[in-house]
């Protein structure tokens, strides 16, 4: 509820001033790479495309749409380029077109874009409405932010068509970029290279994944989402908002020893579960992105009769230093390390290729009972 109210306050402010309100201090996306912007629509029978690069425009319907993309440089033998679309629906239409004419040279490029769109932080696909919503809030109902026209109006973009998409994409990516976001570009480059090699080796891009590839792909997508969310919390404005949903817990140290610290939260609001890995930075939410002064696991979280929340953090990597009673700090979930994630995926892949792993088609799954957090159950139910 408090997060909803915080967001509403920003939205009302935007409406009052008639100006977008920044909700990120850093650009939440990488600048587009030699982009091809596309407007895609359908009448239910045909798919229509209007596309533009920085130097040319092209249009077409159905197979001719893929030819138009190829004319703009969507080429498997060239370095990868960024697809800029207004909405994810348009990217989906493009993907369905590629599957329909899968032998077309540009279809393999669209197939790659269709894969990468699932990886938050990717520079391969820039969905204008989604990226802009990570940077600004507008003085309209949130549903209207899902329309490209709304962003054109509020950002003062006078053009229309794919050129306007390019302009908005560049505005969204302008300024300082979140540190470490560049590793998403490296992942895109690796993925493009693998895609090129597979197709050069004669594998069809539209072939369904093997069970192992599907399992690994699912984990990789999940890791990308976790990593991106974690990275975003280093943005002071994102941290400021997160303090209103309990993802970031600002508070004051009320007790500290070499191996444990107790933090009294400013509000009785925390999503940090007992035993979850956490870290903290010194100061207030707006100080996010600086150094980490404490890490460990939540040992206890208690609320007293005055609705005061105290979070006990213990099991730090090393003795706690430089934190005193009265120090202000902000707790957050431990940062996600993309290298550790990659190591985890390597280990998982090794397991999938040996023994009687049922995902790899050997043996049958064994039913196992386990404790599932309530929010996971609720999220699964809402899916």
């Amino acid at each position: 509820m408090t997060r909803n109210l915080f967001d509403l306050g920003q939205r009302l402010r935007a409406a009052h001033t008639g100006q977008p309100v920044e909700i990120a201090a850093y650009a939440p996306v990488l600048p587009p790479v030699n982009p091809i912007a596309c407007e895609v629509d359908t009448d239910g029978e045909h798919i229509y495309l209007t596309a533009a690069s920085d130097t040319a425009t092209a249009t077409g319907a159905d197979r001719a749409a893929l030819a138009a993309l190829a004319a703009l440089g969507a080429d498997l033998t060239a370095p990868h380029r960024t697809l800029v679309v207004g909405t994810a629906r348009e990217a989906g239409l493009l993907a369905s077109l590629a599957h329909q004419y899968r032998g077309d040279p540009a279809a393999a490029v669209v197939g790659w874009w269709d894969q990468r769109i699932d990886y938050p932080g990717t520079e391969a696909v820039h969905v204008v409405t989604e990226a802009a919503r990570r940077r600004w809030v507008l003085g309209v109902h949130p549903d209207r932010e899902r329309e490209t026209a709304t962003w054109r109006e509020w950002l003062g973009v006078t053009g229309t068509g794919p050129q306007a998409l390019l302009t908005i994409a560049r505005m969204t990516a302008s300024g300082s970029t979140l540190l470490d976001l560049l590793s998403a570009a490296r992942a895109d480059a690796d993925s493009w290279e693998r895609h090129q090699k597979r197709i050069t080796a004669g594998r069809d891009w539209w072939m369904p994944d093997s069970r192992i590839d599907a399992a690994m792909g699912l984990v990789a997508r999940s890791h990308a989402a976790e990593w991106y969310e974690s990275l975003r919390m280093n943005d002071p404005r994102v941290a400021l908002a997160s303090a209103h949903d309990g993802s970031v817990v600002p508070g004051t140290v009320v007790a500290v020893t070499d191996w444990e610290a107790i933090i009294e939260a400013d509000q009785p609001l925390s999503r940090l579960r007992v035993d979850s890995a956490v870290e903290a930075w010194r100061g207030e939410p707006i100080d996010a992105g600086g150094g980490i002064c404490l890490n460990g696991r939540v040992q206890a979280a208690t609320i007293d009769t005055n609705a005061t929340l105290r979070v006990t953090v213990g099991r730090p990597d090393r003795k706690i230093k430089g934190i005193d009673v009265g120090s202000r700090l902000c707790l957050r979930p431990a940062s996600v390390d993309s290298y550790m994630q990659a190591n985890g995926r390597s280990l998982m892949a090794a397991k999938l290729f040996r023994g009687s792993n049922w995902i790899a088609g050997r043996g049958a799954p064994v039913a196992r009972r386990g404790t599932v957090p309530l929010d996971v159950v609720v999220a699964a139910a809402s899916d």
Partner: protein
């Protein structure tokens, strides 16, 4: 810009959303707007006031990366 609460042309959908959230928080939209625009946001939910004021907060930017498009 032609949209906006308190402006000649309102966004009805946002107004409805705002009324619903304000009501759930124990206040009403006119009261909240009066408090917010007066610069003295007392008597309204603190989260609402914090959201309104968030854009005024000076953010200390840490050393980071200024990226440009390849070839730009």
């Amino acid at each position: 810009m032609t949209t906006g609460i308190g402006k000649p042309t309102l966004d009805p959908a946002l107004t409805t959303l705002a009324e619903r959230l304000c009501h759930a928080a124990g206040t009403d939209l006119p009261t909240a707007l009066t408090a917010l625009t007066s610069g003295n946001p007392t008597g309204i939910p603190t989260a609402l006031a914090a959201g309104w004021e968030a854009t005024d907060v000076i953010i200390p930017i840490h050393p980071t990366l200024d990226l440009e498009e390849p070839g730009a």
